[in-house]
Symmetry: C2
């Protein structure tokens, strides 16, 4: 399969590329690195990405950011940024990209466990993650030509915890998280949320 | 208790007012009717509403709209409207109103079963409903002074189905839906989604 990976230079994205490369053709897209660039907040940029890739069999998105901040400090801009980037960025990847995906192809997006297991500071992120999951459940009913859509919900990634000098023992290694993306890509399920905590 | 009901003139809002009136003081707010008016899309309008009410013990929101339309027809504006109205409108009701709610008071917002039981046409609504539920789960951890927050998830309402000349037998009467709002208001739970299908 020809697989577009958006966010290919991030911790999870790199692990997804490593997992897919042995048996699929990977097109790696990043925000500010590599030959394929995309700004998820900009629909025109997303359209240019798919003009550059041409027809693909699958799209994996391991990109998108939302703001983590105490509830009383979350600003209008924090909500607007989170909605425009991680939520509508991935929604628009599907809306714009559906026409470029082959029959019986797939989209695999990224939410996160804060959707259902919140913590103080996660109000905007929990909103975005849960909203994305609701979107995917619904869009799965209407995508044309047998195109599937799933969401992978990663928890804390071991490598990220190490980077933040936090206890990595509660995390999931990126290589294990990547398996959920491969499962969505190579499986037959649609409209599901895959827990990537291994 | 002094209870502000936003969306008090809608099918569900009227039933909530009827259920609360015998034992609580109800302040009824509407978009375009009554003495208390609010435009959920406008944070300034929300701030003016709470200036008008002063301190309240609870806020119930049975208002907020999102667009139902085939996935391929949902426009940028349909998503933007749905996010600004039913989703961020209710989020901002909490952000702006938290200071006006008494200690151990509560917010009760409205999502809908399309969050987890989507149907063709519901991509924007499912996103909004699920996002609101994720927000409430998280905000419950951080609201100050013991203030609680829950979301009521109504299914089809019998009276609405009758109005649309659809089979009302699969619906839930508004008076039964209203019980979930009362339960959130008078109970002790927080961060929960109450299924209002009776």
């Amino acid at each position: 399969m020809k697989v577009l990976v958006v966010g290919a230079t991030g911790t999870i994205g790199r692990a997804v590329v490593d997992a897919l490369s042995p048996r699929h053709e990977v097109l790696a897209a990043g925000h500010s690195q590599g030959s394929l660039r995309v700004d998820l907040e900009d629909k025109t940029s997303i359209a240019r990405l798919f003009e550059a890739t041409g027809r693909v069999d699958a799209v994996v998105c391991a990109a998108g950011t939302a703001r983590f901040r105490p509830f009383s400090s979350l600003s209008d801009d924090d909500f607007a940024f989170s909605l425009a980037n991680k939520l509508m960025g991935q929604v628009n990847l599907v809306r714009v990209g559906a026409g470029a995906v082959a029959d019986r192809g797939s989209f695999t997006l990224s939410s996160g466990v804060l959707s259902h297991s919140p913590m103080p500071g996660s109000a905007a992120i929990s909103l975005v993650n849960a909203g994305l999951e609701g979107f995917a459940r619904a869009a799965a009913l209407e995508l044309p030509r047998g195109i599937r859509i799933n969401v992978v919900s990663p928890g804390w990634v071991t490598e990220t915890l190490q980077l933040l000098k936090m206890d990595p023992s509660t995390g999931t290694p990126a290589a294990v998280v990547a398996r959920a993306y491969v499962q969505s890509l190579e499986g037959r399920q649609t409209g599901t949320v895959l827990d990537a905590r291994g």
